[in-house]
Symmetry: C2
Subunit: 525 residues, 2 copies
Amino acid sequence: MTLEGKQLIGSETLTAQGNSFQAVDPATGDSLEPTFTTAGQAEVSRATELARAAFDHYRETGLEARAGFLETIADKIEGIGDELIERGMAESGLPRARLEGERGRTCGQLRMFARVVRAGEWLDVRVDPALPDRQPMPRVDLRQRHVALGPVAVFGASNFPLAFSVAGGDTASALAAGCPVVVKGHPAHPGTSELVGRAIQSAVAECRLPEGVFSLLQGTGNELGQALVTDTDIKAVGFTGSRGGGTALARLAQDRPEPIPVYAEMSSINPVFLLPEALNHRAAELGEAFIGSLNMGAGQFCTNPGLVIAVEGQGLDTFLSAAAEAVKASGTQTMLTPGIQQAYDQAVAALTSSGKATEVARGQSSEAPNQCRSGLFVAKGQDFLADETLQQEVFGATSLVIACTDQAEVKRVAEHLEGQLTATLHMDDADTETARQLLPTLERRAGRVMANGWPTGVEVCDAMVHGGPYPATTDSRTTSVGSAAIHRFLRPVCYQNLPQALLPDALRDDNPASLSRLVDGKREH
Amino acid sequence: MTLEGKQLIGSETLTAQGNSFQAVDPATGDSLEPTFTTAGQAEVSRATELARAAFDHYRETGLEARAGFLETIADKIEGIGDELIERGMAESGLPRARLEGERGRTCGQLRMFARVVRAGEWLDVRVDPALPDRQPMPRVDLRQRHVALGPVAVFGASNFPLAFSVAGGDTASALAAGCPVVVKGHPAHPGTSELVGRAIQSAVAECRLPEGVFSLLQGTGNELGQALVTDTDIKAVGFTGSRGGGTALARLAQDRPEPIPVYAEMSSINPVFLLPEALNHRAAELGEAFIGSLNMGAGQFCTNPGLVIAVEGQGLDTFLSAAAEAVKASGTQTMLTPGIQQAYDQAVAALTSSGKATEVARGQSSEAPNQCRSGLFVAKGQDFLADETLQQEVFGATSLVIACTDQAEVKRVAEHLEGQLTATLHMDDADTETARQLLPTLERRAGRVMANGWPTGVEVCDAMVHGGPYPATTDSRTTSVGSAAIHRFLRPVCYQNLPQALLPDALRDDNPASLSRLVDGKREH
């Protein structure tokens, strides 16, 4: 397929008039063909008008038709073949195995949502039949289902050019809910975005859906995203990226004449607690495994373990020695973009000059462009409690170990943490009571609490929560990964005494899709 | 019980040092004993600190214990006896039957949430067991449940001194979810609030719960509410009241260092569509019934029918004649507060002087204090489409009828509407196709769509939606009435590979409460 560098708006491909830009191969610094241009207000308006026009039809597609559409998108993405992997590698600097795995995850995610759509639990059907003889007042017939919010703006993320981008979790869950989607592609991988966008465009046509169900807008700068979030036809936003970016979008959305929800997944340092008995028995092993997780994808994961907390002593010393050796042995890795690499170096320099954090080890260095050199630092618990800057996320393969005087200080550090995507306990059976003391704090602070693992690796399943209190996300009440993500794009509607002929299928007496329903307070299957 | 005019903070009763105030009987204009004082920052901090201290314990109370607590509150409210009804009548000007009904609704609502808590569906338990042999990568053990958000600030509403006040729907659903509650009582009915607050305080003690589970702060002015919403220990807000008030609270909450959700139920004019065949067959009957709904509670309902839309012609003329007769026969009714009565007169005067709305009829007048004189106005469809001020809510028994040239203009008026709590269709069988054309618009615009009824009257049940797109509420994704309101105060947490000894009961392998769970994608009961 020849990349065209165009906007995909409904069934059309258009050339926008804004700034031109090209992707850069971060491993070489070379620009990649073709040249893209930046969409402006005209393209935003055209895409959102088409989305609005498609909405009433698309949100009422049957469960089978909608599920089939999601599966067709997955098939079409797989159908692109190796071109997608190669373009993704060139635009991101990520290795082949990672992108192949990410493609599998992306298509698996679409197929999971197809299963979720078919099962229909997301409709949350409730029926309270009329009680005409009830005293002192009769009850009318009341039925509830969930409907889609409206067209959704999705912002592609740089760090997962497939799984959190054009056909990523936000798009898949919004389409599953019945929302048309307008994607703002990330300018770091416009070619990858175009390939995937054309796959979705082709699936829309093949499934004979209204063209406005999907559009892809490309561009650099902040104006495009701002125009999208403030467009009156957009009813919700999905975003994965920086705290600054997510917070700005949330504020824009709140300041609209009609405020809309923003699901921004932003910032997390993913604290890892090493409990005493675990440290006693396997400190060196933990230290080595820790750096394995830290270095994954050059640390460019939302769930990268950026903070380790333990009581000082011989166990922690052993852990630090093993971790330091592993860091020193770490080769450099290409980061996603020159901007991300510069921000990483600046954040590590700020840590070095903080006066509170001490460098334990750095990885190998390299003269190649845009390289991430791993780093390990240590600070005292009391300094962490006194200095908010030590909680700032370093996006990349650098982590800070907090040495506490005792378990009570560990607990204070836990309470002091901002909201997180994850919190991890490394523990032995003999640590159970210590873990039990920490658990209520971790539940309040994080969306996912784990034992004896590492936070990198986010399974796409029903039980996953990839979310958490602010600033991990702008909305702790949901998740951006896993089947529950569909609920972000739904709202309940109640139907009172509506004739059967006007009720949506899900609410009709004959329940044609055999949905699970809560009828008069009792669950019926 | 002797009213003390004090703050109820945890188990204590305290006198605050702020402005003093007394309730006013709106029917007479007389002040009512005792004098209350306004809580300040010290009282807010004390209440929220106690709430924070109570949170980890309260949110893990067992289902039976928590349900029993809600039922004990209901019992204690009933135990107050007639003193509650008489104080409520004096402070609100509402008649006895209305307050007795509201007490029944309030206690019924608490008992409904007890049933919901016991059933446990709100936990939304999901279990994805480990798959150690899965290729290419094993799956870890992942389990999800919902946990309470944290302490909730609830603002009592003036128009339902029991059902939307201290022990109203927001408090009941937040307590059901496991959130401690700090209520800001409405200054129009501080005595009613104190009686109910003491009932909850007594239930907390009887159920041996931490005292911080409930506090009641009283006062006038905006500072108290602002201090509560910006308090770092408060994690969500429930509010029923004006659009200005709700919007201001939402903005305050968004501007916090840690933004929090605000569930404000604010403003709705509840459009009623009279379809052609219904008008042909029963215009006079509809006109009379409409005024019955309009006059209920002096129109001081969120669901008051403030807008009627129909195609002009003989049917609409007959409807208007019958409605006009009913309005002229309407006696005045006492409004809740002098401020509400003044705002009502100003809003009716603005309609009169708009140049777009024509007065059809006014109700009888009266020299008694704080009276609501019913009003009926008519305007043209094209004028409604051109003038946003005609959409402004008139809080009280005045409604505007929009006469459209044809059904296409009716549809344009429907599309032009802001978000609403309700939308109503009066229709005969022969109107089914006309209704079908309007339905998608109404689903996008309102939380509850009904046929052949009137929007006043909001059943407390599983299927109810008392919510809707902005400005009906600040969050269309939920409801403030009915069992689904519990979801407002919950967030998901995922547990990965946690030992059984640390898992919450709901997630343990042995499922001690026999909860419904989604296990490996399949529903188990």
